[in-house]
């Protein structure tokens, strides 16, 4: 099934891509994690990189951030990230999926250090992002709650004038209030046309509204890479009850089918909506529905052992 969704051209923009990967491969021991990824990420977009645990999301991000060495070619802002990570980090900011802020520092010490270490960090901006929160300059990071650490980390990366911001599971473990606030802040206070944002998360429905493009990764291969507008045009969800209509609809080759509360739900790829309309109720599948549809595996175990 995956073959029919293999990487699709995402954009017609002529601007030089922020990230460009060709034949990106990565192995841990004998196990190949990434199987030759090819993609470009143009500037000014908000990308969602979505996949199961162990699908290769973090490895792909690590390759972009120069944290791991891969076969093939990857360029971020025209640089080889593994060879020139330190230089690249002047224009790239990232939050990893762990609470990685140094716990021994006070907030003011963290800001003072960053002012001297990072040429594009603005202490004033960081302080302004924390206004209205419970985080005070004298507090130690280790005394902050999980949500406060996430707020602080977001304030830090938003205060860095970067061209690319990478967020790997930035809201993991946070409650819904923090998660909503986190993404709203990101959109309202940070995103501009010059900046590119790449997010991975399992809570796909929460970020769907802000994404301009999506990439689905499964078992180390990109199975979908397209703009959200194209997703809306290309995929159709049909809810059908009648058995005859179901049979007729199946003739158009749904990529996914399941029964929910006695109703049959089918997802179609590239089928004209006018052809499906007579069979039932049509809608655009949510990102999570599409994710489930395209990520179906032949095995019962969704985890890929490393």
């Amino acid at each position: 099934m995956s073959e029919q969704f293999t990487t699709t051209a995402s954009t017609s923009t002529s601007a030089a891509p922020i990230v460009s990967a060709r034949g990106l491969r990565k192995s841990f021991g004998r196990k190949e994690i990434l199987h030759g990824l090819d993609f470009d990420i143009p500037p000014g977009r908000i990308y969602g990189l979505i996949g199961h645990n162990g699908a290769g999301k973090t490895t792909t991000l690590n390759a972009m951030l120069g944290l791991t060495n891969c076969e093939g070619t990857i360029r971020v802002l025209g640089e080889d990230p593994f060879a020139r990570r330190a230089q690249l980090m002047e224009n790239v900011a990232f939050i990893s999926d762990v609470a990685s802020l140094p716990r021994f520092l006070r907030v003011r010490e963290l800001f003072a250090l960053l002012t001297n270490i990072h040429p594009n960090f603005s202490q004033e901006k960081a302080r302004s992002f924390l206004e209205g929160t419970d985080i005070k300059p004298e507090m130690k990071v280790k005394h902050l709650s999980k949500g406060m650490v996430a707020q602080l980390h977001l304030a830090v990366v938003m205060a860095i004038d970067a061209k690319l911001l990478v967020l790997d599971e930035p809201t993991l473990g946070l409650d819904i209030t923090y998660r909503k606030r986190f993404y709203r802040r990101l959109l309202e206070d940070y995103m501009t046309e010059e900046r590119t944002l790449l997010i991975t998360t399992h809570q796909v429905d929460e970020i769907e509204f802000m994404l301009s493009d999506i990439m689905f990764i499964r078992d180390g291969s990109l199975i979908l890479h397209m703009q959200m507008e194209t997703v809306n045009d290309k995929f159709t969800q049909l809810v059908v009850n009648d058995a005859q209509a179901q049979e007729a609809a199946r003739a158009y080759g749904p990529v996914y089918e399941e029964t929910r509360f006695g109703q049959t739900v089918m997802i179609f790829d590239g089928v004209d909506r006018s052809l499906l309309e007579p069979f039932g109720r049509l809608s655009t599948p949510t990102l999570s529905d599409l994710f489930v549809a395209l990520m179906q595996r032949p095995t019962a175990n969704p985890e890929t052992a490393r």
Partner: protein, 305 residues
């Protein structure tokens, strides 16, 4: 350079417990005990004053030298644990990815740790050693004043002694740091790779290296090899004959020698620096940079390891 200094500063913030707060607590305890001892009459001020009367200034020299030596021992142990732990702290604290998101190379980060180990961190302990000298002199001088055996006229000579001993301690500290730099770098590099396991490995490594030579090249036993002899030489602090001669002059056959010359910090420093094997110091510095570079390459690939 600004970023490098900031990284050294963060080492200070992260480890000020061992290098500032711990010594300050020790110093406070020590000072408190001394004051208490005088207050409750455990120390006879008259007798102490009498001792100070008999050997008025040698006590200041020996007392401060002894105290300074004790602080150097404390520093040596603390630096060993700093190197064995601090170089792996980013991984242990789960902060590795944060520091890797900064525009500084792994080599710069590790060099900042090594630089902190030979500048700001020992500098703090040295400052506390100086402070402890001031407190020691304060207690001794007060005792003399109480006993009526000292006048404020002696302060000039005491201050001179303080400066001489402080100079000697500073030069001894600098020489020791330079001499043991490759050891610090090696322990730090190992800690980068294996974390706290660097502590036992650092102790086992010399024996292992000597054993490898013994097994491959022969010899009576591992401790009669070139490797072991070199390590013994490289582990022995730079020798100085000045202090030995001075101490033997002070400690006469029938007690303290009142006619012994004052401790000369400059003469001690010249003698010590003259006995340092500078070729070994230079080779040690090159070795230190090389192992830190190798460790940084490991750290750069740590996601793959």
């Amino acid at each position: 350079m600004k970023a490098f200094i900031a990284l050294v500063h963060r080492e200070y913030i992260e480890h000020k417990g061992a290098f500032l707060l711990g010594p300050l607590i020790l110093l406070t305890l020590l000072f408190g005990i001394i004051i208490l001892a005088f207050t409750v009459g455990r120390v006879d001020a008259r007798l102490s004053g009498a001792v100070l009367t008999v050997v008025p200034l040698i006590v200041y020299e020996i007392g401060f030298l002894g105290l300074g030596f004790a602080w150097l021992l404390y520093l040596g142990a603390t630096l060993f644990f700093y190197c064995a732990d601090g170089f792996a702290a980013d991984r242990r604290n789960n902060a590795m990815l944060f520091w890797k998101s900064m525009p500084v190379s792994d080599f710069t980060v590790l060099m900042s740790k090594l630089t902190a180990a030979i500048t700001v961190l020992p500098g703090i302990v040295f400052a506390i050693a100086l402070l402890s000298g001031v407190l020691l002199y304060g207690v001794a001088f007060t005792t003399m004043l109480i006993n009526g055996t000292a006048t404020f006229g002696a302060l000039g000579a005491i201050f001179g002694i303080y400066l001489q001993v402080a100079l000697a301690l500073l030069v001894a500290l600098a020489a020791a740091l330079l001499w043991y730099l490759p050891y610090m770098a090696l322990v730090g590099a190992m800690a980068t790779a294996v974390g706290r396991w660097a502590i036992p490995i650092a102790l086992l490594l010399p024996a292992l290296a000597a054993t490898v030579e013994w097994v491959t090249l022969g010899g009576q036993h591992p401790f009669a090899t070139h490797t072991w002899r070199f390590l013994e030489y490289r582990s022995t602090p730079p020798a100085t004959t000045y202090s030995d001669i001075w101490f033997s002059g002070v400690d006469g056959p029938s007690g303290a020698n009142l006619g012994a010359p004052r401790f000369d910090g400059l003469a001690f420093a010249s003698d010590l620096l003259g006995h340092v094997d500078w070729l070994q110091v230079g080779l040690g510095a090159v070795f230190a940079v090389a192992v830190i570079y190798l460790a940084s390459e490991y750290r750069r690939r740590s996601n793959d390891n």
